[in-house]
């Protein structure tokens, strides 16, 4: 079976600065991959390339299927109603019905006719997720989609994303700098540093995962990020 994402020797420089330095990465269809790394290490750059937003690169980055993306900011069109935000670009005559169904999945049917600026941060992010998923993507790119949310909303979003992923089974590439988030959701964790993938962790814990069950592996991942938890504890 073809890979959902296939990246080989991907290098990206902004002027003299090399941001991605020979990345090799393959993602299986339906696999959930988390990309961890410090801010500025090139995570968003990689996602933008995979989304086809940046084509001035060296090396190969192939995403054969359809791609969808959700960003840290929901990036909804404030002047279009919520349902319209989801339906636009789909080019389907039954756009509203499809949008309503997608809103049902993120439990926001009531807000279909609301203006996006009246939504809370978590609600807007759920609309953004619904908008990404309604395209039935083969690859779903999530660039720190929970980064701007409060801790409680974030927990609810973790469950929602896992649910949606299990139901639709796209390959997911989730960028985050929250180790717990990565351990709760991902099959595989990649640690990115200075434009290279410096570590890979397979997470074989059964789902649904609990916080306690991830503690042991957490220490090892954190060590790869240069954080010594023994000291912190």
């Amino acid at each position: 079976m073809a890979k959902a994402v296939s990246v080989r020797g991907l290098t990206k420089a902004f002027g003299p600065r090399t941001v991605l330095d020979g990345i090799d990465l393959e993602v299986e269809p339906g696999e959930f991959v988390a990309l961890l790394g410090r801010s500025g290490c090139g995570k968003s750059t990689l996602l933008r390339i995979l989304a086809g937003l940046d084509r001035e690169v060296q090396g190969r980055a192939e995403v054969p299927g359809t791609v969808s993306i959700a960003f840290q900011q929901p990036r909804l069109l404030p002047w279009r109603k919520v349902w319209k935000n989801i339906a636009l670009g789909l080019h389907r005559p039954d756009g509203r019905a499809v949008a309503l169904k997608a809103l049902e999945e993120v439990r926001l049917t009531d807000h279909a006719d609301a203006w996006p600026l009246t939504l809370s941060g978590g609600e807007a992010q759920r609309v953004s997720l619904a908008r990404a998923l309604v395209r039935e993507p083969d690859v779903l790119l999530l660039d720190e989609p929970f980064g701007a949310l409060d801790a409680l909303t974030r927990l609810a979003m973790h469950h929602l994303v896992e649910d949606l992923w299990i139901r639709h089974k796209p390959a997911v590439l989730l960028v985050t700098h929250d180790v717990d988030e990565a351990l709760l959701l991902a099959d595989r964790i990649l640690v990115l540093d200075e434009g290279r993938i410096v570590a890979t962790h397979h997470v074989d814990l059964p789902r649904p995962r609990r916080r306690a069950s991830v503690v042991e592996q957490r220490t090892r991942v954190l060590a790869d990020l240069g954080v010594d938890v023994e000291e912190a504890a």
Partner: protein, 269 residues
């Protein structure tokens, strides 16, 4: 009593409670009314000569006469027509150029520099040229109004388009919008608030341009009414004309604000 105090304390930033508001509106009218009374007093006692400024009562009477004999209505219609067609012409030019330079890189490269240079000219100073080019009929008046309208519309539409959040455009690209859809659903709507600012400025300059343009050799319109009255020392008619100008300006301003409220419903208030 306690209840009302609690109510006030609970909404510190909201509108003042009803009673205070009821009192406030008449309070604001005290000094304007006093001024008019003072003015009337000065006129009645002969301190203020009618050659300098007619009394409020005389002005009101003249307004009634001018309306009754149709003079004001005719002048009004002529002036409105000038502004309408001048605005249409200038609006068309401003919007077409603004779209061209906002939406296309070539358009911007070719159009923006000359427009930015021309806008530094005070457009009311163009009258001598317009008279030489178009004579002294309706054309120079339309041209003056049009040039007063085109620049603010161009500048604000162009700026509005350029201010589009690149993040939204990026998202639209990944989500499969065509280029046309990106323009219609992302770029143009995000330029609307700034364009409405331009529209308001354009109406302001349109009226100003009209007033100035009607000083040149008008044989009809509000400006003619005013100039004619000046020759006969009819300060009452002059003031009536000025009041009509002011009311027209207020009306278009209110219309734009109405439009704003409709078109920008999506904005959080």
């Amino acid at each position: 009593m306690t209840l009302s105090i609690a109510g006030v304390a609970a909404r510190p930033k909201s509108v003042p409670p009803k009673q205070a508001r009821k009192l406030k509106l008449p309070l604001r009218w005290i000094s304007p009314i006093a001024l008019v009374l003072l003015w009337q007093l000065a006129s009645s006692t002969g301190v203020l000569s009618p050659d300098k400024l007619a009394s409020p009562v005389t002005i009101a009477e003249s307004a009634g006469e001018l309306i009754a004999d149709g003079q004001l209505g005719d002048a009004f219609a002529v002036s409105i027509t000038r502004v309408f067609f001048g605005f249409l012409l200038g609006g068309l030019v401003g919007v077409v150029l603004g779209l061209a330079s906002g939406l296309s890189r070539w358009g911007e490269t070719l159009l923006d520099p000359p427009v930015q240079m021309l806008r530094t000219l005070p457009h009311l100073g163009l009258i001598p040229l317009f008279i030489l080019w178009f004579g002294i009929g309706e054309e120079p008046k339309l041209a003056l109004v049009a040039s007063g309208v085109a620049f603010p519309l161009y500048l604000n539409l162009h700026a509005g388009i350029r201010q589009t959040d690149p993040g939204l455009v990026e998202a639209a690209k990944v989500l499969g919008y065509s280029r046309f859809e990106r323009i219609v659903h992302v770029v143009l709507p995000s330029a609307v608030p700034q364009t409405l600012v331009g529209l308001r400025i354009a109406f302001g300059t349109a009226w100003l341009s009209l007033i100035v343009a009607e000083q040149i050799n008008a044989d009809a319109g509000l400006g003619f009414l005013i100039n004619n009255a000046r020759e006969f020392l009819r300060t009452d008619v002059v003031v009536v004309g000025l009041v009509v100008y002011a009311l027209l300006g207020l009306t278009t301003d209110a219309l734009v604000r109405l439009l704003e409220r409709r078109v920008l419903r999506w904005q959080k208030r």
